[in-house]
């Protein structure tokens, strides 16, 4: 079976199974106990998935096309779709799935206009806000010292992440690694590893590192660095995947070896986007370093957590002000620099 068929059968199977499962839950309103029975539910979903995949096969046997088929079919088949998307079965499938998800989502998040505009709740928020906009400036000196520490944490995390991410970016680029099967294996392994690293919040890494190296800026820096390596490697490798082929061919044709080809034809094309992404990452890291501080990663976040824990909102207001100004400054500066080097 062609690879694209497997892809769309999985896609459609999941969608149909999902719709059926939602309908099931809404229709039968099962008890808490039933919902918690993971084993039965898993088997049920698996059965629904198989049925969904079969439904997909049946539908695609007719003149209609499912969303999965439309999405994953090879390019040369795409040209034959004359029907407008919104009038096709795939369009219907998309709209129904979106509406069902939106409706379910409102139920799950307990979306309520009543609570949003309830007087009592709003009053509390108002008091807090009033304290925040009337900051206690007496703690400004310590706040400034701590924000400087935070900016340094972010800088070190970014700087240490650059060389690692730089090397990883080539190993994670499909156009470089995808040509041999060994290369592809390295590419796939590293991509998965980086995706996992990135999907774990920096906050969680910070908790791990506070246990590893102790509470303080060093733990925060390590957490941010790890997260930065994963993010930068992904962004860098996407730039590598977008380089134009011409110069690569040009250098290859001279008899250069593969490292020379990378250095002379790819690196010049990626340097500026790399710099832009790196500055942006530093900017993001300053913001994240604030949060990292909440779990003992040092910097202004630690201070923030102390005052917030004691509900000293005027002091929190001062810290928030310092953070806001710093982030705004970093943001503006990095935007100007990125604009200038384009």
């Amino acid at each position: 079976m062609a690879l694209y068929k497997i892809k769309y059968l999985i896609f459609d199977g999941l969608i149909f199974a999902y719709l059926a499962a939602v309908a099931w839950v809404l229709g039968t309103s099962p008890s808490e106990e039933q919902l918690m029975d993971l084993q039965t539910n898993f088997l049920l979903c698996l059965a629904l998935f198989v049925v969904g995949a079969i439904v997909s096969i049946l539908i695609n046997k007719t003149k209609m096309k499912t969303l999965g088929a439309l999405l994953f079919e090879p390019d040369h088949m795409k040209g034959k779709n004359t029907k407008s998307f919104w009038k096709s079965f795939a369009g219907l499938q998309f709209v129904v799935t979106f509406l069902v998800t939106f409706a379910t989502g409102s139920l799950v998040t307990e979306f309520s206009f009543y609570e949003l505009f309830d007087d009592r709740g709003m009053g509390g928020a108002k008091r807090l806000f009033q304290a925040l906009i009337d900051p206690d400036l007496s703690i400004l000196p310590i706040a400034i010292l701590k924000i400087i520490e935070t900016v340094y944490i972010a800088f070190m995390a970014t700087a240490l992440a650059i060389p690692l991410a730089f090397i990883l970016s080539f190993l994670c680029a499909k156009n470089i690694m995808g040509k041999t099967s060994l290369g592809f294996a390295v590419y796939a392994t590293l991509r998965t590893l980086l995706n996992v690293t990135r999907s774990v919040e920096a906050l969680v890494w910070a908790i791990i590192f506070t246990i590893w190296v102790g509470v303080g800026p060093f733990a925060g820096m390590l957490a941010l660095m790890l997260h930065s390596v994963a993010s930068l490697a992904k962004q860098y490798s996407e730039i590598v995947e977008c380089v134009s082929e011409g110069p690569i061919e040009g250098v290859q044709a001279t008899g250069a070896n593969s490292l020379q080809v990378v250095w002379f034809s790819i690196v010049p094309q990626i340097v500026l986007p790399y710099v832009a992404f790196t500055i942006y990452r530093w900017d993001i890291n300053v913001r994240m370093a604030t949060i990292i501080g909440l779990v003992g990663g040092g910097g202004i976040g630690t201070l923030l957590m102390q005052y917030q824990g004691q509900a000293l909102w005027h002091q929190v207001g001062c810290l928030a002000l310092v953070i806001a100004v710093t982030v705004w400054l970093m943001d503006t500066a990095s935007a100007y620099i990125r604009e200038a080097i384009k």
Partner: protein
């Protein structure tokens, strides 16, 4: 016919520098770009390959320096079969075969001189080349190549500051720095205006005549072919349909190669 037989006779006396034997190429998507092409290339000649877009010209050239892997057949270069070469031998092969491209394929952000020095990459150790350290000899060679194509004064310009014609001359200089025996030119003038087009072709001719480098060049325009080629081969749908003198391509052959109803466009 007499010209062609005389031509053949003179070529039989020479040993071919490159011999293409029944080369086939099928791409992974099933397209058969070359369906068994055979021809010989003789030292010092200016061979032009003509044909429509999609006729397999570009694939043919890239099979010669192995930028594309031929699926079947043999390519004999100086008595050696290139199709069985491993990675490091391929690099040596590429070093002896320069190539220029329709879109020049220079590194825009590097200087002209640095681009030309890339022709020496094949014989420069990795670390040295990465720090931009090239031997005195190579630097002189690069400058000489630039002078030869008439842009020696532009050596320290950035490549993206040059015009199209100048870029193609830089590409020629880069190829010359390799000290090639053969120069492949894939549609070298297809993205240039008619005036610059002749300048570039003239330099290719100069390289061919003065340095004795064999040139294999893909071209669209028949008027250019008549002006510059020593010999012509024509590809159509991946097959060799014509081989002979440029002067022998008459109306009938033209329609055969380019299809019914095609009219010739002149570049002057």
């Amino acid at each position: 016919m007499s010209a062609s037989s005389k031509d053949k006779k003179s070529q039989f006396t020479k040993q071919s520098i490159l011999s293409i034997k029944n080369v086939k190429k099928t791409y992974p998507n099933g397209v058969q770009a070359l369906k068994g092409v055979s021809f010989d290339v003789y030292p010092g000649e200016f061979l032009v390959i003509i044909g429509l877009s999609g006729s397999g010209k570009s694939t043919m050239l890239r099979c010669i320096n192995r930028l594309i892997e031929p699926s079947e057949g043999q390519i004999i270069f100086n008595g050696e079969d290139t199709t069985s070469m491993g990675a490091s031998k391929i690099r040596q092969l590429r070093n002896k075969i320069g190539m220029i491209f329709q879109h020049f394929n220079l590194i825009d952000r590097h200087s002209v001189l640095s681009n030309v020095l890339m022709g020496a990459l094949g014989r420069t150790p990795l670390l040295k080349s990465m720090f931009g350290i090239f031997s005195k000899k190579d630097q002189e060679k690069a400058q000489k190549a630039l002078d030869l194509v008439g842009i020696g004064d532009r050596a320290h310009f950035r490549a993206d500051q040059l015009s199209g014609g100048q870029k193609q001359r830089v590409a020629i200089a880069r190829a010359l720095t390799q000290d090639p025996e053969i120069l492949l030119a894939d549609e070298p003038v297809a993205s240039l205006d008619p005036a610059t087009c002749h300048t570039v072709m003239d330099y290719l001719k100069k390289v061919n005549r003065e340095l004795g480098i064999t040139v294999i060049c893909n071209l669209h325009f028949l008027s250019l072919v008549r002006q510059y080629a020593d010999r012509v081969i024509a590809l159509k749908d991946g097959e060799l349909v014509y081989q002979g003198q440029p002067s022998e391509i008459d109306e009938k052959w033209f329609e055969e190669i380019y299809g019914e109803g095609a009219t010739e466009v002149h570049v002057d």
